[in-house]
Symmetry: C2
Subunit: 440 residues, 2 copies
Amino acid sequence: MEILLIKDALVVPMTAKEGACKSFQASVGVVGNRIVLVSDEVDVVSSFLDKHPDCRIMDGSGKALLPGLINTHCHAAMTLQRNHADDIPLMAWLNDHIWPFEARQTKEDIALGMTLGMAEMLLGGVTSFVDMYFEEDHCVEVVDRMGMRAVLGCSYFDATIDEVLQSAERAVKAAEGKERIRISIAPHAPYTVSEENLQRGKRFAEEHGLDYMVHAAETQDELNYVADKYATTPVRLLDRLGVLDQRTILAHCVWVDQEEMALMRERGVTVSHNAQSNMKISSGVAPIAEMLREGVCVTLATDGSSSNNDLDMWEEMRSAALLQKVTTMDPLKLPAYEVLKMATVNGARAMGHEGELGVIREGALADLILIDLEKPHLQPIHDPVADLVYCGKASDVDTVIVDGRVVVENRQIKGLDLKALYRQVADSVHRILKIQKKDL
Amino acid sequence: MEILLIKDALVVPMTAKEGACKSFQASVGVVGNRIVLVSDEVDVVSSFLDKHPDCRIMDGSGKALLPGLINTHCHAAMTLQRNHADDIPLMAWLNDHIWPFEARQTKEDIALGMTLGMAEMLLGGVTSFVDMYFEEDHCVEVVDRMGMRAVLGCSYFDATIDEVLQSAERAVKAAEGKERIRISIAPHAPYTVSEENLQRGKRFAEEHGLDYMVHAAETQDELNYVADKYATTPVRLLDRLGVLDQRTILAHCVWVDQEEMALMRERGVTVSHNAQSNMKISSGVAPIAEMLREGVCVTLATDGSSSNNDLDMWEEMRSAALLQKVTTMDPLKLPAYEVLKMATVNGARAMGHEGELGVIREGALADLILIDLEKPHLQPIHDPVADLVYCGKASDVDTVIVDGRVVVENRQIKGLDLKALYRQVADSVHRILKIQKKDL
């Protein structure tokens, strides 16, 4: 059990219920996986040191201490397909590139892609992520080894529901006793999974005490499809099927109306906003500012690297804020504190830790990141939150602590040989593309 | 005179006239301020080494070599006001924060802010910038010292034209013999400078052989003002005044119609697109993809740190591309190569070096940047240009060469003590805000 004292950092606590809360210079103590001390009083800090004379001391001066960022929707293994096919029409992208690639990758390739994705996330200050992909049972071990907090969503289409629910059972077993890892059931979308199978996944989730997630209302095509087939909208359809509740994450929600927002608030659904992905593949602009005003729990996410093309939550914060401002023509929309809250406080609900994750207060889970403020693009510091949200970058993250364990220090991921990982990734990609070419 | 050989880098030459050009492994030789060699042939590289046995060799393996990025519109000194006032209405921002701050800063403060801005730009791979601010004559020396290439735009309102044109004369003298630095005349905007003074600045520019730049068609308010006062649009007004030609940069051009695009192309005007600034202060979305299709020379820029809030051209490339895709609902718009061209090839025109800057070919000016590709967010490398544009970050820039001189190496700016600079900046800001408080 590690005991840590982070001394004299600029703490951004994210504990305000309404409005923005002030950041302040303080020291933060961690025992096991919990924050046990947040104080700027010399006496209090001294008595912590007296009590824990062997604790590890980290210097926080010149640094900001934030809750770890929470990425509530990604397909981490798809980093193998980063920049594999860009700037082409959606159906050509899927038919000619993404799907043939996926058909030829092995479980080992997927675990490798996920490792690369996690390396990127950790170095960018992401401590928790919600994943959605295939072979998640095979990934429990690599997620555990990397030390991240994760919800692994077992994704299915109609044709694959049987095998995926079996894989989900194996994943649940593999995750037993691993407190940082939860398993979730993840039907692909209302336009690719039947009503029956959307419900069957939910029943399975309830029986096993699991979360549930689904892509919803992402594109106008989906809207048209659901209107034609079910004479309703994606969110209303999901509600009619009884799958919307506090354990459900809806990814995207670009095309939702006022009444659906009220519905999502009532059901306690978590929305995952993917600003850059929605922009890049021209899905549209989700009405995030409105959803937040309506009381919907909106979180922030990167989506997969094949459509984004990275897993960078700093860019996602900035893009989300700027996109709301320009599309509503109101520079007051989605201010810096609000968007940082989406990436921390709100994200905690998606992780099943509402109130005890994404904040820095005594008793909360110790997922923390130290940001080096001594960079030209972060100086001078007029307003720390605006500084971090509008100017902070993944590369400013110096130290990452997950569940009380130091996983990144001085921008090095402990126990991971990155150069070896790049070689393995290159080999995998080379092999996959070779098969693909031969077969086409 | 420095002689350099960058060995075995992944060269992204940006030399294609139409479509995208391939990147390739090659070595690049620099003598004085020019690229004299671009070759992947062992014999050719050997003979360069025989001819220049004392040349400095840089290892380009695992790195991409790009033309330095060109930021065609910024107010570099405004980095002092970074995050000074965000998420508030425009007029409160100007009246209560920006203008009182500016009224109290000295020439020394401005030079300091510009130094910080240049430090940020250099570390982000920006080798050239076009500035627009006050006291530019006082900044010639610091720009020269930092080793950057710059066009310094002396900015005026009606009330300040006399003193600014005098300052411009001093700036021209100060820049004599400094080939990297050009002086430009920069009336603020059609809604803040009279017709007479817009023309007077142009005449002055012509008499002195200088460039000319002006904010134009940035907001709907400006459109309304110009419609009320002149019964026309900003771009048409400027054309009527005879100030549009190949030596004119129009910053923003958010609100322009098809006919104005044709006009801009005919006049040979350079447009500076500021995606993130336009988003953050809710100016609107400039029809960049359309302008490019119409043959307008569109370049890329950050605007000032008080509205952006940084000077990061990598984010600007990404934001420009993504914003066009989502607002046109067409994922094919502004592909990666096109946007990299805006930031390099097209930007060269704004610097007065069309065709010999922003490209890597023998004979071109040696403004070059080396990007470290061995980062998780840049792996695997399926398509180098998409990789750089969609995933590359300022912090991936390892080495920066301007005009043949190595100014940044291993992410260190030569001869600049950053910590001392941060302290000076903090002191300046502290002093300025104290005066401000007392006087309000």
